[in-house]
Symmetry: C2
Subunit: 137 residues, 2 copies
DNA sequence: TATGAAAGACTAACTAA
DNA sequence: TTAGTTAGTCTTTCATA
């Protein structure tokens, strides 16, 4: 993971469909080098996956969910990952245990999701924050 | 945004390099249809961008940052987006105003980042949560 | 690091609803 | 008029030297 890797990553983070030849030009190396490095980073896990950032709805939010102490957080997370509109489920340290990152159609859909979470016996608290603006690092 | 769109998105979210022909097979349509729909979703903003999910360091975390009431949150967010190891900056509603999603080399790097945030006059509080596990929705 | 072959994406003309 | 299909062409990626 050297500076060249980081420059390649920065280009891919902004547009993962940039052709290797174009990346090569930009960072001053050959197409083959870029390709080999991307493959290496994929193997090593520096690149977890190629993906798309979506905004299918109008409301993005994070829901911090607290669960009871005797509960298998992993299992709960697993189920919540299957819920509609849920993009990511993070198990986190801190007061709450799970953070849902969601992309909901509207506030009603968001509210339904929060309700669904609160109705579960294992869930002891929720705290929702709307994501008003997102910027890439 | 119909069911076919959603199925295409789900495939792309897991691997954005899946060839159109393969997606077409999986969802039961032609390559051209998949391509047209992906292009339309890009134009409409349902797909914000093609990107890579990275893990360059060993520590992922979210840092909730509270800023003073008279501060331009946008400007602060803008600067923080440029900091090393910061993947995303979200302006959010709730007690705190900014959430940094970071991918740090180690806990020292994470701590440096938190310190850097706390040293700013505008920042009145920080709360850090380690992301222990992430799952795709 | 080149180069040719293979895979994939794109263009544009066509068909059907 | 819009969505979908397809054949041919061009671009990108990949494997080999």
């Amino acid at each position: 993971m050297d500076d060249l890797d980081r420059r390649i990553l920065n280009i891919l983070r902004r547009d993962a469909r940039t052709p290797y030849t174009e990346i090569a030009d930009e960072v001053g190396t050959s197409e083959g080098t870029v390709r080999n490095r991307v493959e290496r980073m994929l193997e090593e896990g520096a690149i977890e996956r190629f993906t798309v950032a979506t905004r299918t709805g109008n409301v993005k939010a994070m829901i911090e969910v607290g669960v009871a102490v005797d509960v298998d957080t992993r299992a709960v997370s697993d189920e919540m990952a299957d819920w509609d509109a849920v993009d990511y489920v993070w198990q986190v340290s801190g007061e709450e245990d799970i953070v849902l990152v969601v992309d909901a159609a509207d506030t009603t859909a968001l509210n339904d999701l929060i309700t669904k979470a609160r109705e579960r016996d294992e869930v002891v608290s929720t705290k929702t924050r709307l994501i008003l603006n997102e910027m890439l690092g």
